[in-house]
């Protein structure tokens, strides 16, 4: 893999750490994830819970005979809907607070739903006993095969932050006067989150105080939801999670196993660990729903888009509506005369759908950007030219309000140059290399820039060291690293001198690590904290008789490169090390906070990118190899080259997965996920990933936040799938409109 970054353009507001903050701990095995805190307990104290799941899609548990299981070696308790402690389950507030299944009734809404918990001295004892439960069910007719019941599609009860339908201009008129149209249906499958670290919780009670180690993207969210579920004051709950082994949205909400673990800990009066199996990742902790997208494009001869229509229908759990806004990009990715979008759901007895990396934009661009490619072909127009023709200079979805910053044009031109787009053959099926058919395709990437309120604490410690803390999370994304950088930048210190604390709900509050918002939320809070810290340090120095700064006006002082200086008398300065030493080595601490500016409603904040793919297709086996992808992104400032480009690269790799691999298969008659393992649920392996050439434009977006960065966690997956699909078409002349593009579809296509 090659990593390219435009050094000139990338503005580096501060010194970057050249390694991942927690990297050494990770590669030496010292890093510990939620399930690995067993050592905190004595060997006999910690016990293990295993989740028992329904094997029918709909109905109820009639009875569970646990007599044999309860007598099995090592078994401490079996919790079922018939003996579970009663919890006060307030009304759930989907989608972030999920409609949980906590054994409060015997209902079954999907195959794989938790219906019992077995607690044993060891995990294996719990598991073996679980198999001894004699469960009888009362079956109800299940709602399955949702794709055959599209006439049942309805508006979602709870569309999330966006309305489910949206119309601008006169779409019918647009089609009436169109010279060229595209009208097709595009399908994306159910996808399951498979971070390396499966969900896991260790819970223990001290009186009515509950502490959990929990694999989560949102410690303060778990704190609130768990307190509510267990009916205890919020401040009685502490959530700890210093490292998250990936989450991808699945760990953005608290799912049933977390309160069930706390319940188990209460029942056996011991610390309990509940760690999900890989198979249990397929159902009880969310999935990206499948979407069926009807897209129509109307264009004039010169390529001007007169209208875009995107109607998406998806599966939703009978428990709760979650809307995957695949229709979103149709509203703001291009300028068009009119637009009309809708999102509807069809209920099914399946697990709850949830956020997955780039919710909305990932499937949205995957389908819309194929349609654009089809339109370009019909117009005999270069796909980039078509996109430039309809470039959205302002946000069409918000009455043309300005973007905080948009450099998508630069992405197209830089990307096409690096890729060698000019030499692409517009006619499909023309290029080969030995047996391989070669194809080139491109697509636009996009993801909104989000930001929420956050708080942070910083301290200057003896010896020129610093401490920074915020109750945020690091999903393997680089939060530790950029927090160290931001804190150090405030005093002009070396980021290597900074100790970082996060992942503990006792720390200052920060938002969910989702929606690519962590850096844009937490770093401004740290920036504010270091500004406060500077003032305190200056105050300390000017009042310190032993300081060369003594008696100076505070306004005349500043902190630069680790020293206090006088702006008017450059000869006068004081070292931070000396200052703290004279302060009897007492650290100086400051708090900071930041929230989105009031100007946020006057502008749209969005990230952009252009993705180019080269594929080779074997005409005999119909297998696809992605040879290389060039991705150029406009994401504001790149905060850290290593962790930042790695985020984008990981997203692009997922784009390969989206295009050619992932496919959650539901058994048509039982609603069971049939390929619930990493052997059968495919994600790319090394042989599937060619050269990934990723770079950023690097122009800071200072209107969005004072650091100038927009999030990068999700945009990488957007656009990539369509770029690959379009490249496959260019290679073979076969237009596959259903993901994943597997050999059988290319054989038929």
């Amino acid at each position: 893999m090659s990593i390219a970054q435009d050094q000139e353009q990338a503005s580096k507001p501060f010194k970057q750490l050249d390694h991942r903050y927690e990297g050494i701990a990770k590669v030496t095995g010292k890093a510990r994830y939620a399930a690995e805190f067993s050592e905190s307990f004595s060997k006999t104290e910690l016990v293990y819970a295993f989740l028992v799941r329904a094997t029918i899609p709909s109905g109820s548990v009639k009875s569970i005979d646990s007599a044999t299981a309860s007598r099995a070696p090592g078994v401490l308790a079996v919790i079922t809907p018939f003996n579970a402690p009663k919890l006060s389950q307030g009304p759930p507030q989907p989608p972030a607070r999920r409609n949980l299944t906590l054994l409060q009734d015997a209902n079954i809404s999907y195959n794989g739903q938790p219906i019992a918990v077995v607690i044993g001295q060891s995990l294996n004892e719990a598991k073996v006993a679980a198999a001894m439960l004699k469960i009888s069910y009362a079956l109800q007719p299940a709602k399955l095969q949702w794709e055959k019941r599209l006439s049942e599609a309805r508006w979602p009860k709870n569309p999330g932050k966006e309305p489910a339908g949206n119309h601008r201009g006169d779409i019918d008129a647009a089609f009436a006067k169109a010279a060229v149209t595209v009208d097709n249906t595009y399908i994306t499958p159910i996808q399951f989150h498979n971070p390396m670290e499966t969900h896991a919780t260790i819970a223990w009670w001290q009186g009515d105080k509950l502490t959990v180690y929990d694999a989560t993207q949102y410690i303060s969210g778990v704190k609130m939801s768990l307190a509510k579920a267990m009916n205890i004051p919020v401040d009685n709950v502490r959530v700890i999670d210093p490292l998250v082994g990936g989450g991808f949205g699945s760990k953005g909400s608290m799912w049933s196993h977390v309160p069930l673990c706390a319940m188990a800990a209460k029942v056996v009066n011991r610390p309990v660990k509940l760690s999900l199996d890989r198979e249990q990742m397929f159902g009880p902790v969310g999935a990206r729903p499948s979407t069926i997208n009807h897209i129509r494009l109307a264009a004039a001869h010169d390529g001007t888009l007169l209208g875009i229509q995107h109607d998406t229908v998806m599966n939703a759990s009978v428990l709760e509506d979650f809307v995957e806004h695949a229709e979103g990009p149709a509203k703001n990715l291009y300028q068009s005369g009119a637009s009309s979008v809708s999102a509807k759901v069809v209920e099914a007895n399946l697990g709850i759908s949830t956020f997955m990396r780039a919710p909305g934009e990932a499937p949205g661009t995957a389908v819309l950007e194929i349609a654009l490619d089809e339109l370009a072909e019909k117009l005999k127009m270069d796909p980039i030219e078509l996109r430039l023709k309809n470039y959205a200079e302002t946000d069409p979805s918000h009455e043309g309000r300005p973007w905080s910053s948009k450099h998508l044009r630069e992405c197209y031109s830089k990307g096409s140059e690096e890729f060698g787009w000019a030499s692409r053959n517009m006619t499909p099926g023309q290029r080969s290399d030995g047996k391989w058919l070669i194809g080139h395709g491109m697509a636009t990437a996009t993801y909104p820039a989000n930001r929420s309120a956050a708080q942070a604490t910083v301290r200057l410690l003896p010896g020129g060291r610093m401490y920074v803390a915020s109750g945020t999370q690091d999903l393997g994304t680089g939060t530790y690293t950029i927090m160290a950088q931001q804190a150090a930048a405030g005093l002009g210190l070396d980021p290597k001198m900074v100790e970082v604390k996060l992942g503990d709900s006792t720390l200052p509050k920060a938002p969910v690590s989702g929606g690519s918002q962590s850096s844009a939320s937490v770093l401004p809070a740290i920036q504010d904290a270091t500004t406060q810290l500077k003032l305190k340090l200056i105050d300390l120095a000017v009042n310190d008789a032993a300081s060369p700064m003594h008696g100076l006006q505070a306004a005349d002082c500043d902190v630069k490169e680790g020293r206090l200086i006088s702006k008017s008398q450059p000869a006068k300065s004081d070292g931070l090390v000396e200052l703290i030493a004279r302060n009897k080595n007492q650290p100086v601490e400051a708090q900071g906070q930041a929230e989105p500016s009031e100007a946020k409603d006057a502008m749209s904040t969005q990230s952009w990118g252009a993705v180019f793919a080269e594929v080779a297709v074997d005409p005999h086996t119909h297998m696809v190899k992605v040879r290389r992808i060039v991705g150029v992104y406009d994401i504001g400032v790149l905060l850290n080259e290593k962790t930042g480009l790695n985020q984008l690269m990981g997203g692009m790799t997922w784009g390969i997965s989206f295009a050619t691999h992932e496919d959650g298969i539901v058994d048509a008659s039982t609603g069971r996920i049939v390929n619930a393992s990493l052997a059968e649920y495919h994600v790319p392996v090394n042989a599937d990933v060619g050269v990934l050439d990723v770079s950023v434009i690097g122009i800071p977006d200072l209107k969005f936040n004072p650091v100038g960065s927009r999030g990068i966690g999700e945009i990488g997956i957007t656009g990539t799938a369509a770029a690959i699909a379009n490249a496959i078409y260019n290679a073979t002349g076969k237009r596959v409109r259903e993901y994943p593009i597997t050999p059988d579809k290319l054989l038929a296509g």
């Binding site: 094997t55 195959n111 294996n124 598991k127 073996v128 198999a131 005999h620 086996t621 119909h622 297998m623 190899k625 050619t660 691999h661 298969i665 058994d667 048509a668 008659s669 039982t670 069971r672 049939v674 390929n675 619930a676 052997a679 059968e680 495919h682 790319p684 392996v685 090394n686 042989a687 599937d688 597997t742 050999p743 059988d744 054989l747 038929a748």
Partner: protein
Amino acid sequence: MKSFAYSRATSNAQALEAARARGTQFLAGGTNLVDLMKYQVEQPVTLVDINHLALTEISQIDGGGISIGAMVRNSDLANHPLVRTNYPLLSQALLSGASPQLRNMASTGGNLMQRTRCYYFNDISFSACNKRAPGSGCAALEGYNRIHAILGQTDKGPTSGETCIATHPSDMCVAMAALQATVEVEGRGGRRTIPFAEFHRLPGNDPSRDTTLREGELITAVTLPSAKFAKNAFYLKARDRNSYAFALISVAAGLEMEGTTIRSAGLAMGGVAHKPWRIPEAEKALAGQLASPENFAHAADILLHGAHGYEHNRFKIELAKQGVVRALTVAAQGTSEVA
């Protein structure tokens, strides 16, 4: 997984003696058996570890050919100079399978005995599986049957106790079938030799049995006859990702060439049936013929005669036809260096 007793055998006799007890299974690399135990599909009472048996040699045998010990690991077998040079078809097939880590553990005997990847066999929450629970029916028939059989299956409807559309998932075995290997086994009653074509079986009316190996018998070796296809061999594997995926269909093609004429052929398919699919008539039809697309297509037709697909796997019929023609075409052009 369920608790089990473990014993380690240091001689074949000891292994065979231990295997007398009911519910005993041999543990080789464990890459299939241990997974199935975790899924509670297999629940052995005792595991007899055969990793310490003297079955790790690859040796030349009198009159040509080689003998491969049952505990030779897939990676060692694939990379052995004798195999790379004389049996590139086998080497290619092995290297197309699983991942390096798995091949380092997987044994020759275990690979022969690996069980189907049928989703409905591997998840005990599906009650209908004649292979796992004889007489219970077949959930795959009307389920998600994309990876299932198109040839030689038993299809008497989803509720019949005989229906089974599972496939044998091995790559190695497809090459061995084309090479007409022999399986050497040892039981308490003595040794016997099973021709490869008779080792794996079709589901017939008893899908629970994958092979003709008898209870308690130990595979000791696989022998290959003297090499005929060293210069013209190709293993084609169509799969959903470029590595670490089972075959949708695979084809092992070996040709013995005289100029542009085929003197003899070895041909088998994987991913299409309950056993490696070899029809000797297809090979015979090629013998003495020109290496031409028409003749290859004819062989493909013979191999796929009677193929029958289901809702999700019908594509395999055409994919297999194309695969057979392609594999024979590449084989005829000459073996390329094994990567």
